[in-house]
Amino acid sequence: MAHLLPSAVPQPGAAGAPLLEVRGLRTDIRLKRSTVHAVDGVDLTVRAGETLGLVGESGCGKTMTALSVIRLLPAGGEVVAGSIRLDGVDVLGLDEAELRQVRGGTVGMIFQDPLTSLNPSMTIGRQISEAVLLHRRVGRAAARRRTVEVLDLVGIAHASRRLHDYPHQFSGGMRQRVMIAIALACEPKLLIADEPTTALDVTIQAQILELIDRLRRDLGMAVVLVTHDLGVIAGRADRVAVMYAGRVVEQATATTLFDHPRHRYTEALFRALPERAVESRDPLYTIPGLPPDLTRTAAECRFAPRCRFAQDDCRSTDPPLVPQPDDSEHACLHPVDAAHRLQVRATSASVVALTANRDVLVTAEHLVKEFPLRRHVFGRTSGTVSAVADVSFEVRRGQTLGLVGESGCGKTTTGRLLVGLDEPTSGAVRVDGWDLATLPRRGRRRVRRDIQLMFQDSFASLDPRMHVGAILREPMVIARLGGRADQQRRVDELLDVVGLPREAARRFPHEFSGGQRQRIGLARALALSPRLVVADEPVSALDVSIQAQILNTMRALQAELGLTYVVISHDLSVIRYLADRIGVMYLGKLVEEGPAHQVYARPLHPYTHGLIATVPMADVHRERAKEPAPLRGELPSAVDPPSGCRFRTRCPLAQQVCAEQEPPLAELVPDGHRVACHFPLGGTGAGPG
């Protein structure tokens, strides 16, 4: 592989001529009736060998900025002002043929979703060699050789044998590697990665980010890493640009930015991150209001309407990006200083005491769920998916149990079993000691009411043709609770509880934002005054600032109504913020379960340890200090799970016994912290600790 490397490797951060220089970029997207000013005066500089992180919430114009650079805007999109110089060339002045040389030649591009970004009907090999053939005057054979080389480079094993495979034959992580291979095929000088890991699991995400980082170093590329996840940026970017409403509002080296954010928006974003509030268990900071409508232009600070520190001048002048002495820039008239730090207002919700001796509300007893693998309507089943395999836990009143794990480990299935949407293959769910399965019909209905589910995808779970009032009333109608007027009153109550205006009852789901829809989902779950709410990925689709609103609401309701939660998420920081106890799932098994702080601080299972170590934190120092992704490989198939301990195939500590015996979930010491491992960490001292 070494012979591939360019001979002269520029050093990152070297103060050479900028490779990419964007000045005053304005990009409009013309619609039928209006124009979206998606990018509204963006300045960026990327030097060779450097990684620039571009962060910001959804819709702030990150993607449009990136696409402007290679002039690949959607229909109606057009760069209306500014300049883009790439390696000394004015990109905006290029004609179509020259542009094609830039695309894929000078600039490689990686997109968010590796599944949809690859042509499903073309082999991997052809998709990569296409890029080679387009930019190099080589024959097919040479293109093929190059294809194998880059596949090797991105770490696809047996590359030459996989050339004829189609994308669907690759896992998500491998597909993203292929995308990277395509982008790298012609040794670009600049790699733009637009949310390259958002669709992937944390473990895979870490591997991919590491790969990009390594390639940057090895090949001396510059990288623009676009993401909404501050944690991702923290460990990888040299410099970070924060975007808000089509603008870069702050730019600084990663360390400076994370340590001392200056712009009020950046500060607010950080304050909204749950991981920053874990210890305090304070309510999270929420940014009031809405991001501005990008179809309007404004002569004010775009953040002013939402900023707690906004002054009159903020509302009358549009602050420019001002370079600061420390090589950073920000566009804020009243930047953060020690005196005016953002204080989170104290809420009435007092912190719930961690009481282990509350009584048990729900028990899961040896839950097993297997799905037959169906081929066809008349087809016979050919094997089963072991989605949940012998999972037991209990949830106490007023507590929150968090379930984490990689995608496909059975979290959702467990949740569905709890609320009775699916029947367990074996095992039982007990509510207040009643076994749901053996309860008579009527009783079952009564008990079922006590457990409600808050769906992952709020939009899919709300009937698009019903207005919110009807949606919220429906559970009551079904349960025949009260008259129409009572129900109406209850709807108003519910809307109050989740913090939506009462008139929302007359609107349709699609007229709400994602966060609001999630609240409607929550309100519906609460309609029958349940005792337990199972929340499946309640915030995974949301931006940080909105996520904070939901998390706060959930916490507040717990305090107010004495709710019990089972929160399912792949995001450890969310779980850690919400949960009293954490359950870690791996391939259908509960591998570790215990009090949240203990599990987090002293994980016993190597998997938990790896997971925690992998999750990116919005903290430069911790991220920089991190060992390279400790969890290698991907989740094995649930159709044919490994024998013994299911984690052994990826476990650094695995030994013979792991393949032969399945470790039981047991407490090492009687502290309510259980683990299913032959070689638990810490306790035995065998782990990397």
Binding site: I70, L72, E96, R100, Q101, V102, R103, G104, G105, G108, M109, F111, D113, T116, S117, L118, N119, P120, S121, M122, E130, A131, L134, H135, Y166, H168, Q169, M179, I182, A183, R375, H376, F378, G379
Partner: protein, 314 residues
């Protein structure tokens, strides 16, 4: 794949049995019955009875059906009451003619519809798009007999550009050697299919155009035409496969009106004429063939899907 094929074949047999049963029952409902229709107004009751007896039509329906099935199992589709030919030889004679005509129309329609649909999608909401949509709908909304007759009237009788009838040769080669005669019959069928196909192609292309992999291809530095042909087209063809699969029965069943107007006795006309004369064996035979084609068409569409879309495996 083998398992899939076997399963589908089993299903097909069930469907075909169902079809033949439905047809059998419907035939019983026809007033008059076969004997009268075949023997004509001269036939005396005694002759009618003799005919019924000879052809087993005096047996209970179920028994007739079972007998028919039994013969079918032995590869015997029966003998036409009216045409002095075995059903098999009738089909063997008519089928190629029908296939030539319809296949030609299908191929031409597809060959035109694909670029038209793609162009429409690429220039969505342009004047060209509207014009093509409008024209398509006009032809789609025209009764075929009206269209065919107008074509003959204008292009054959008034202008004298093309013959008024399809080639009369009895062999496929002979038919194809008279391309002028094929223009009008094939043309009328093409006009009808075109609207449908190009509409499908347009929407399939629209779907593909907004896919992420198209953006990826552009990001690689591929030009517009390359992206269209290498990336968009193949993926847009997938929905076309379904519609082509669905066209298979039409391919075999023939197009009654076209055949009648252009004096081209194929399957459609055969079926119609034998239907009005209650020539049961022929009807059952053709229904079976068409039914089989329906099932096979669906199957081929599925297989085509699998060929075009590597994600699909059976």
């Amino acid at each position: 794949m083998t398992g899939f094929l076997l399963r589908r074949t089993a299903q097909a047999v069930v469907v075909l049995l169902l079809v033949s049963l439905i047809v059998f029952v419907l035939l019983q409902l026809l007033p008059g019955g076969a004997a009268r229709a075949v023997l004509g107004p001269r036939a005396t009751p005694a002759q009618l009875a003799y005919f019924d007896h000879q052809n087993g039509l005096d047996k209970p329906v179920i028994q007739q059906y079972l007998i028919w099935l039994w013969h079918l199992l032995h590869g015997d589709l029966g003998y036409s009451y009216r045409l002095n030919q075995s059903v098999t030889s009738l089909i063997v004679e008519r089928l190629p003619k029908t296939i030539v005509l319809n296949l030609l129309a299908l191929v031409i329609a597809v060959v035109i519809a694909i670029p038209v649909g793609v162009a429409q999608a690429v220039r969505r909401n342009s004047l060209c798009d509207y014009a093509a949509t409008f024209t398509g709908f006009v032809f789609y909304s025209t009764p075929i007999f009206f269209l065919s007759l107008m074509l003959v009237l204008w292009f054959s009788l008034d202008l004298g550009w093309f013959p008024a009838q399809a080639p009369q040769a009895t062999t496929v080669g002979g038919i194809l050697s008279q391309p002028a005669g094929l223009v009008l019959p094939v043309g009328s069928l093409v006009l009808l299919d075109l609207a449908l196909f190009s509409r499908y192609m347009r929407s399939a292309t629209l779907d593909s155009l907004v896919q992420d992999y198209v953006r990826t291809a552009y990001a690689k530095g591929a030009g517009r035409s390359r992206v269209l042909y290498r990336h968009v087209l193949r993926n847009s063809l997938i929905p076309m496969v379904t519609i082509l699969g669905l066209s298979l029965p039409v391919l075999l069943a023939g197009s009654l009106i076209t055949e009648q107007v252009f004096n081209y006795p194929g399957m459609g006309l055969l079926f119609y004429q034998e239907a009005v004369t209650s020539d049961y064996p022929v009807l059952l035979g053709i229904t079976l063939v068409v039914g089989a084609a329906t099932v096979v068409g669906n199957l081929l569409a599925d297989i085509g899907y699998a060929l075009l879309d590597p994600r699909v495996r059976y």
